[in-house]
Amino acid sequence: MNINRLSKLKSFFLKVSHHVTLFIAMSIICIPGLWIVLNSFRPTVDIMAKPPVWVPRGLNLDNYRAMFGGAGEGGVPVMQYFTNSLIISCTSTIIALFVGMAGGYAFARFKFKGKNAIFVGLLLTRAVPGVALSLPLFIVMAKTGIIDTHFGLILVYVAMNVPFTIWLIDGFFRQIPPDLAEAAEIDGCTRWQAFWKVEFPVAKAGVASAGIFAFLTSWNEYALASQLTRSTFSKTMPVGLRDFTSEFTINWGGMCALAVLLIIPALILTFIVQKHLISGLTFGGVKG
């Protein structure tokens, strides 16, 4: 009897500690983000208050209004940054997907000499640190005159995303038995038709997850963008965050508002495809 009760007590205790640890872990994950969201609605006086104001009061949209208002105190051409980011990220993602699909298909379906070496070589280009790459790119682009343009940044992001896209898509195409396309070819499809009608629909989820990764990488990239863009006409959102810092002070409220605007698209996209995201990563890696 006693042993029974002891083990019951033990399992109860384990359950409680499990939940408590989980709660603490989730709080640590959530609080920094929520802190940013909360502060984007608070007036600067409250953010700076000493002693701190814990219970939120006087929440308003002033920071957003100032941000979108443009002119005057704390005004930032945020819509311009948002459009730049959107154009650059979308275009580079689409191009990277096509290039990556062609490459991934080649690696999954064809046998050729030096395949592994080429594959590793392609992946290694992704490992080059952004800062180290930005130095020569800065000079080359300045010489060719594509610095500070959408085109220049799109080109860079395509190159950044292609290796990873190939890796993920290769993993997905390998999941599809080659017989499927062969059967279609016997039925009179060309290889091109067989690809679009048979193999692509099956691998669509993989392509989607690769696309999300490519988009998020370009949307969030900073190291290269901060050096390769100068003017409002090409600055992206992550670089725009810097506009809120001056030499000695930072406009925290305004920055938080821009931060919220930066997260929302990423958040929505990730929620839509989160299931594919996980399977994409594991397919590409484990079974590839």
């Binding site: 814990w54 096509f98 990563l281």
Partner: protein
């Protein structure tokens, strides 16, 4: 027609090769060349001033460089190991949950969507000595009377940066390890239970070998862009104050853009490139070995 003679696979990977050559390979060759010159941004003619390995010798002899190099290695070692351990812990915690697991998984992915710059600003705000969340909380709870200089003191600043990095990247590990936990077949677990294994034994000898490939995938993915941490450090402290948190990447950026010594910066840049490539190859080798062990390799 010349393209008819080329094999199909080559035509398919050609676009990838062309764009990577144009955007990454050629600039890198240029930077290799310029690392042997005394190139300064402000004086373009110095590009043709060949000085041999002087820049590399200068870096090797420089205490600042080695301090940054050591700090980078230390930073990566601590951050990656912590991320792996915390990710494993988080995955195990979440995998035990029966109700609301989907929601927990979604919350877990939250930090992955944050831009590294944003993570930097966010924690710069949170660790701010005056208006930061951490100091406010400590003072309100009466745990500390003075403002703790989180981003000024050498050790505390390093801690804050590592905290930010770990916060951002643990979810990559947690999500992949969780996927690994779900893929484990149940039979060996139950057999172990019948044979009287302790929970620790069955974790160590059954669960862990199964999720090892997943850990290495996460490591491999992370190693592809370890330098993402540059964004965080650049925003939080920019290597300062007085180089106390200087890592290789911030040192390169400052030498290149602020001091305009492009030749010297490119020489150090090459060191960081080899460091990154070493990390990547190491983890991909581990990944292949772990795959082979499970018989997943083809």
């Amino acid at each position: 027609m010349i393209y008819k003679k080329l094999p199909q696979w080559f035509l398919l990977i050609l676009p990838a090769i062309i764009i990577l050559a144009a955007v990454i390979l050629i600039p890198l060759l240029f930077s290799l060349y310029s690392s042997f010159t005394s190139y300064r941004l402000t004086r373009p003619d110095t590009l043709f001033n060949w000085i041999g390995t002087f820049n590399y010798e200068k870096a090797v002899k420089s205490g600042v460089f080695w301090a940054a190099f050591g700090r980078t290695i230390l930073f990566l070692t601590i951050a990656l190991n912590l991320e792996m351990l915390l990710g494993l812990g988080l995955a195990l915690l979440v995998s035990r949950v029966t109700r609301g697991q989907r929601m927990l998984r979604t919350i877990m992915m939250f930090p992955m969507m944050f831009s590294p710059v944003l993570v930097g600003f966010q924690f710069k705000f949170i660790f701010n000595d005056n208006v930061g969340l951490v100091n406010n909380a400590l003072q309100s709870l009466g745990l500390s009377n003075s403002a703790i200089p989180w981003l000024v003191d050498e050790k505390l600043a390093m801690f804050s940066i590592i905290f930010a990095e770990v916060w951002m990247s643990t979810s990559v590990f947690a999500i992949l390890i969780l996927a690994g936990l779900f893929s484990i077949p149940q039979d060996p677990q139950e057999a172990a239970k019948v044979d009287g294994c302790t929970p620790w034994q069955s974790f160590r000898h059954i669960t862990l070998p199964f999720i090892m490939p997943f850990i290495f995938i996460a490591m491999a993915i992370r190693s592809l862009d370890v330098a993402r941490a540059y964004d965080i450090v650049q925003v939080m402290t920019n290597g300062g104050p007085a180089r106390r948190t200087e890592i290789l990447w911030t040192l390169i950026g400052r030498t290149g853009y602020v001091d305009a010594k492009m030749g010297y910066a490119n020489a150090m840049g090459y060191v960081s490139i080899f460091l990154a490539i070493f990390f990547t190859i190491y983890f991909f080798k581990k990944l292949n070995a772990a795959r082979a062990e499970l018989g997943m390799a083809r």
